[in-house]
Structure formats: C-alpha cells, structure tokens
Amino acid sequence: TLTEGFRKARQKLTGVAELTEADIEAALRDVRLSLLEADVELNVTRRFLGRVKEKMLGQVVKLRAESQGKKATITPDQLFVKACQEELVAMMSSPDGAQLTEAPKGTPTIVMMVGLQGQGKTTTSAKLAKLLTEEGKKVLLVAADLQRPAAVEQLTVLGQKVNVPVFSAPNSTPVEVCRRALALAKVQKKDVVIFDTAGRLAIDTVLMDELRAIKSETKPQNILLVVNAAIGQNALATATAFHDTLGLTGIALTMLDGDARGGAALAIREVTGIPIRYAGVGESLDKLEAFRPDGMASRILG
C-alpha cells in the first residue's frame, strides 16, 4: 500500500546520519511502487520522484552545512516526508481554488458539467446548486441529458430536494434545452445556470461535437469535468481529450468518501494544468466541498 511504501522509505532513512544520493534513490524506489498503486500516472510519477530527489539533494547540502558542530534541525526521514508532501501540494494547488468565473454583471454565470458515464455529474450539479443557493445566489438547474432513461426525473427530484428549479424540455435537443434555459434564466434574472449533460466517451465524436455546440451557443464561463476519484491511468487521456475539445476550467473529483487514493487527480492537474475545484465526499446533497490540496496530498501519501 501507499502507506507501506512511504513507511519503508522513511525507515530506510531513519537513523541515517549523512544522507547520500544512494539513500535517497533507495527510498524513492519504495515510493515509486506505492504511487503507481495509488493510480498516479506513470510519467507523473517519474517527474514527481525527480523533483523530490532534487529537493532532497539540495537540502542535504544545506543540512550538512548547518550541522557543522550543532544538532540537525530535521532528520532525513522527516525531510523526506516533508519534501513529498510539499511537492504533492504544489502540484495540486491553484490560485483561485473553488472560485467560479463569474459572467459580466447582469447576465447569468454558466456552469457546464461534463464527463464520462456514471462519474457523478447529475449529483454534483444538484450539490453545486445547493452550495450556491446557500451563498445567496438564484440558481437554475438544466436537465440537458435527454438520453439516459429517467435522467431528467433524477435531476428534477434532486432539484426539489435542494429547492432549486429545474428546466427541462422533453422534445428538444440538448443544445436547444441549454439555449432556452439560458434565455429563461436571463428573463428571470438568475445568478447561476448549471447545465447537467449526458455522460459520454471522449472518443465519441458526435457527442463531443454536441458539447462543442452547447459551448458555442451559450458561451459558459465554467466547464467542469466530473471525475470519480477511483479512476485509473486512463484519467489523463480522458481529461486531455475533453480539455482539447472544450477548454475545461476546472475539475470536480467525486467519491472521495471512498477509499480510493485518488492519485489520478494528480496527473490531470499536473499535465493539463486544469485546477481541481471541488471534492464530492458523499451521496447526499450537502456533500460537496472546496478541494483541499493538503488534504489530498496526505491521502495520496497515506
């Protein structure tokens, strides 16, 4: 397990008086296996280990200079954990956190939820609606998944639970639904409109074109990719494909109440640069939080 990998690494470094490059390499080998077990993508793992090694080598020189004659302020194993934690947090942080990009004053801010099948888009749409409503915003939910059986019903029930109206139009296309919903939101002076779209494969060109059409028709300020924290090595390819097509503005990581380490999130953030904005931490509608990089780093490191 990831915890074991780090514990082994730390043990190798405990009691080491003078840290050598060989010591660091040995510790990093243990970490490599456990990062891969946590679903961190292969190349991201390599880059992470490279940076931690670099950091530690830099620190070793500094430690050696400091310890001339006096006791070291930090032991090698503590240094190692600190370097890993700092590096992970840096990789997953972003300057504006959970903040959504707002529309110019007087028009509704649009949030478009996209992603693979079954990741939690519909549930997260309702959770976000609740969160924003509690901030005093007037929100409209839009049932733009016209394909999955009872998808509109699902969002309608969730909307009722959080007291947010749900717009649906059974005999139109998803693009029309979004366009009409936006027009209605402008008339009703809504602050935020949230489009819940159907799950789809990134390789489905017809359905990806549909998302592109919704984007060009409505010009959303926010396009969030919803991803299950248990996703594997495929996460990066998926995020990249959605990003290349749409220009994602953020990620919502769901099912963090499970025991998945969530290492795939690292790759998405690290390689595409898309900020992770939200964390889904349960099935009920109050279970959406701003994403915390330090919490995630501890989770990945165990």
Binding site: L33, S34, L36, E37, A38, D39, E41, L42, L116, Q117, G118, Q119, G120, Q147, R148, P149, A150, A151, E153, Q154, T156, V157, L158, K161, L201, A202, I203, N228, A230, I231, G232, Q233, N234, A235, A237, T238, M255, D257, G258, D259, A260, R261, G263, A264, E283
Partner: protein, 279 residues
C-alpha cells in the same frame, strides 16, 4: 551495437509501461515482468515476438478461472441474479441488458427494483423494463431493499419466472452499514427461494484503477460474489486491473459492457481481452 542485455532490458521496460498504463498495477506487473526476465536470462525466449507471446500466455492463464456455467447453480427456476457494485459502475444498465438477453432467448424475466434510495432509480429501471419488454417489480414507497428482493423472488417462484434479476443501489465498499444492508438483501433472496441468489455479479467500471482490488475484496467478503461484469470497455480504458482482481480472488469475468444500448453486452472472451490490452 546493443548487446542482448540492453535489448532485453528495453523490451521489458516497454512491456512494463504497457502493463502499468493499462491499469494492471505494480504488483501484477512485477510478477509478469519478473517471470519474463527469468526466461530471458535462461535464453528461453528467442526474440521479442516470443516474449510478447509468453506475456499473452501468462496473462491468459491468470484469467482462465475454472468455473461452472453461468447460472448452473440454479437446479430449478427461477435463476436469481443479484447485481452489486459501487456507484455509477453500470449495474442498472447491465441488469437491463441481461434481462434483454434472456427475454430474446424466450425466457420469462422479472426485475427487482431494489435501489429504493437514489433519485429516480426505480423509474430508470422501469423505463428499461419497458424498452426490453420485461416486468419490473417495485415496492411500496419507503420499503427496504431486502423487502423488495424478498417480494420479487417470491413472486418469481409463485408466477413461474425463469430468471429474476435484482438491481441494487450503488455503494462504496468502505461503508459498513451499506455493506450490511446488502448482506441482508442477499439473505432475503435466499429466504424466498432456497439457494438464491445463484449468481452475485460484481459490476466493475473498466476505467477504475487499483481501487477495483479493494472493491472486489470488500464485496466478496460481504457477499460471496460469484462473478464479475466489466463495463464501459467501449471506451479507451483497457480494464487491466481485472488481471489483478482475477489473480487474487479467482472470480470469473462473465460479461463485458460495450455501450449504453440494450444489446451492448457480450460474453467475456479472454483472448479478445488480452489482445486489446496489449494492442
């Protein structure tokens, strides 16, 4: 000019990368690669072609679980199948696909809408039931999942259904009370029909990473899972984690999901799967 050592090392690195990016995981990858390295060191594999062939053969061996025919545990009707798994894996859709298959084979199928928790879960299964032409048994409002399953299985026995498939709510494997609820649901099937459920299918999403091992472990410990369905293989994810799952838990992969329509269900084909994994 590269010596044999260098060529072998490069080839094994290539193989390691293929396995890891396919979600096969560090432990299973190491075992497979170590075995190949041993054989290379003994000059047992003449060229890279042989090495890949050996890898395919070792992987095939892992996936070939000796198991009785699907549903053969049911000595008389109805065959009772319980669908379980984490949230969003594809349980409801797979229930519908499986129902459609039996229906097309002339069997009388009853579905149990035992997800009494999630918004519009019952409606979702009912719509599917209409699409594939099978009856859906649902409960009065607020009934427990175990009660729905008990009623449905009892009805299956009483009204001469050939197959009863129970769709359950998604749940994360680390939630003890939810796993306990699932245990009670399984027991309810047995109370209505001795020997039921004859099949407990764990539905796994092919994009899942190493967490699939924890899913398999916990669901199996709670319920005695009898098989796996690997869904969403129509995507780009290879589902390689199934190698580790089968290696550790010896569960047969019965079906794969290859799309969102009723007929997007296939029997698991080991050779085809391996081919795709290493393509």
């Amino acid at each position: 000019f590269s010596g044999k050592k260098e060529i072998d090392a490069a080839l094994l690195e290539d193989i390691e990368e293929t396995l890891l990016t396919g979600d096969v995981g560090a432990a299973t990858t190491k075992r497979l690669v170590d075995a190949l390295r041993d054989r290379l060191d003994r000059n047992d594999l003449a060229d890279s072609e042989r090495v890949w062939e050996a890898l395919r053969e070792d992987s095939r061996r892992i996936l070939s679980v000796d198991s009785p025919g699907f549903g053969s545990a049911a000595k008389q009707s109805p065959l009772v199948i319980l669908m379980v798994g984490v949230n969003g894996a594809g349980k409801t859709t797979t229930t519908a696909k499986l129902a459609g298959r039996y229906k097309q084979a002339g069997q009388k199928v009853l579905l149990a809408a035992a997800d009494t928790f999630r918004a519009a879960a019952v409606q979702q299964l009912e719509m599917w039931g209409q699409r594939v032409g099978v009856t859906v048994h649902k409960a009065k409002d607020g009934a427990k999942p175990s009660a729905v399953v008990y009623e449905a299985v009892a009805r299956g026995v009483a009204e001469g259904f050939d197959v009863v498939i129970a769709d359950t709510a998604g749940r994360l494997q680390n939630k003890a009370p939810l796993m306990e609820e699932l245990r009670k649901t399984r027991d309810a099937a047995g109370k209505a029909c001795p020997g039921a459920p004859h099949e407990v299918l764990l539905v796994l999403d092919a994009v899942t990473g190493q967490n699939a091992l924890s899913q398999a472990k916990e669901f199996r410990e709670a319920l005695d899972v009898t098989g796996v369905v690997l869904t969403k293989l129509d995507g780009t994810a290879k589902g390689g984690v199934i190698l580790a799952v089968v290696d550790e838990f010896k569960l047969p992969v019965r079906f794969i999901g290859v799309g969102e329509k009723a007929d997007d269900l296939r029997d698991f084909d080991t050779a085809e799967f391996i081919e795709a994994l290493f393509s």
